[in-house]
Symmetry: C2
Subunit: 380 residues, 2 copies
């Protein structure tokens, strides 16, 4: 075992997810011996490990003080790369950058991280669901599938379903030669919660607007509920998954904006800038939502907001659909859980299903840390 | 990229699963360039790749003829190891042994494979569910968690749930510091089928013995149904999973035989040697099975044969349990699917669920091939 074993980890973004990542890395001894935190950066400050003063966190309180007291203002990303290359050289260890932000600018910089030999792990959906040019630049520069290479790797498990094994399962299916026929799922925890409350096998007796109001007040939605109800988060996840399916190469969305997406926001509210006003006016449309729900119920069905990738039809869409009361999306789903059904040539009679919490700092961090472990296994 | 990139694969056992493994390895170009088959062995013959005549399979018909026409009788395992070490040296590539048998003698040899530097991938449950001494010898010699090592690796995804992400999910949960509180699941495809038919949310109107008879006649059971109804297959899977949970270290079963297991075989039939006689006499006990089912139904429940690992109670058992009609094991399960619920500190409100076909040659082979890919990523 080399003294330089393991890898370095540079963490950009130390909010809820970033804090959980640090907490997991420092509290599990099998991780702290293999994954060495060498940099922390938030919007204000950067904290770097140096030979004379290596970072060594033992508790969660430590690093927050160290970062805010750091004399170094937040480095521009090209400067951060130079510092990380220096650390890579000094330590003799491979370095991975963890992007815990949801920042487009950080995402746009992934090709440069990779060009500099730095691996990338992230729950940030922007790079994988945005412009296809950025995505292609990342795919070109990553070495995940290059046998015998020691180049940089990219892992993105937490971009869909947080810690749930969704990306890895899709990659294993595709990588072993299975053919995906359809992926269908409830990909938004917020919309899962709303429809699990609104449209139940026994009908449901709550008003749509009241469920949204409660969800907003309890932090289940973004500050502006339209950010969830527009379906764009689901569209992003569909863009991410569809790009991992080789058969879709010709039909790939140029970005999540080209995924046909059914917005649940009533047209008259589309331009309401304030989340509060949005929630206040939503009751005007309760009759419409109720009508949809009743129509589904009369057919023995429930409403679910789903993402569908139908490979055979070449169709990708985020939309409100009806499911029979006995369907797992109706009968088995509850709370704000995600559920994903992989229909494939091998899993043809019944799909492979993965279900569970698809959001939250700890489970998102788990996906990130598991990805880092995989990089340590390959480059440590 | 080195010319020696990728790894060598030596395949022991070329029945249904082995044939599917070979088919996947040879038909997917991204696999055939990284996973090089260098040996095939069944109970009669061994076929080895040599420098002058390297194996190169392009179709599934090829290798069967080549193997049966091979002049080499099946090698004893120590001799196979010597040949594989020679091939490893000649090719400059790491070598993994795939054991597709269910043979205890092959399983008992894993420590020797590892000692010789050969990785092991297998759907064979014997080594991981058998005597704890054998298991410990394997754990000691594998390098999976040793940073910076280039030693041999062990992967066993297909030992539970075939290609379903069960072992990998458990390893990721544990590896990132989550605490498993309970694992509960339907682990036997055969018993899943039997109880999904027998005990439905609406009661079920089929006789237990008739379902077993139909299942036997259609190949859903082992030739002797007691091999499924005894619960020992479930006990093996529980032994395998429990050994991956650090908190259970003190309460670990010495082997699957020490897992408390409720046999569904009526005591008077326990010693019936013939599967045919067993099925013929089973109707004598239909009233008993019916009584259990009715009792469950009267409580709004169904019967499911499950495996439970309750970490908090330190209890591991394979048994017939009742589940509310709305529980995913009742409402969402169908056919011969497996379903596994991981209850953890992070997934505490609702479990992480994985569901799908848990048996069959193609999905079992998929788990094997995905494991081989992981070894190629780390040692290729």
């Amino acid at each position: 075992m080399s003294t330089a074993s393991g890898i370095n980890v540079a963490i950009i973004g130390v909010g809820l997810v970033g804090s959980s990542v640090i907490s997991q890395l420092t509290s599990v001894s099998t991780l702290s011996s293999r994954l060495h935190i060498v940099a922390l950066q938030n919007s204000k400050k950067t904290l770097l490990s140096t030979a004379s003063s290596p970072l060594s966190f033992s508790s969660s309180s430590d690093w927050k003080a160290l970062l805010s007291n750091s004399p170094t203002s937040a480095l521009a990303l090209p400067d951060l790369v130079l510092e990380l290359q220096k650390i890579t050289k000094d330590t003799g260890r491979h370095t991975a950058v963890v992007d815990n932000t949801s920042d487009e600018k950080v995402a746009a910089f992934y090709p440069e991280f990779l060009r500099a030999g730095l691996s990338v792990v992230t729950p940030n959906k922007k790079a994988f669901s945005g412009p296809i040019e950025l995505y292609n630049a990342i795919v070109e520069r990553k070495s995940n599938d290059k046998a015998g290479s020691s180049g940089p790797l990219v892992y993105q498990e937490s971009t869909v379903g947080a810690g749930l094994p969704i990306i890895s399962t899709l990659n294993d299916l595709v990588g072993t030669g299975d053919q995906i026929t359809k992926i269908e799922g409830v990909f938004s925890g917020t919309l899962s919660y709303i429809f699990n409350e609104f449209s139940t096998p026994t009908g449901g007796n709550k008003k749509f607007s009241e469920i949204v109001k409660f969800a907003k007040e309890n932090g289940y939605t973004e500050p502006h509920p339209n950010d969830d109800l527009s379906g764009s988060d689901v569209a992003r996840k569909l863009a991410i998954l569809s790009r991992l399916i080789p058969e879709l190469k010709q039909a790939l969305p140029k970005g999540y904006l080209s995924v046909p997406t059914h917005s649940l926001t009533p047209a008259p509210l589309a331009d309401v800038a304030s989340g509060e006003e949005y929630v206040e006016r939503l009751p005007e449309f309760d009759a419409d939502y109720h009508g949809l729900n009743k129509e589904a119920f009369d057919q023995g069905c429930v409403l679910r907001y789903v993402g569908v990738i139908d490979v055979q039809k070449g169709e990708i869409k985020a939309s409100l659909e009806t499911y029979d009361k006995a369907h797992p999306f109706a009968s088995s789903l509850s709370g704000s859980d995600n559920i994903v059904a992989f229909h494939t040539k091998r899993y043809s009679q019944r799909p492979l299903l993965v279900q569970g919490a698809g959001a939250g700092a700890e489970v998102t961090a788990m996906g990130v840390v598991a990805d880092l472990t995989k990089i340590a296994e390959r480059r440590g």
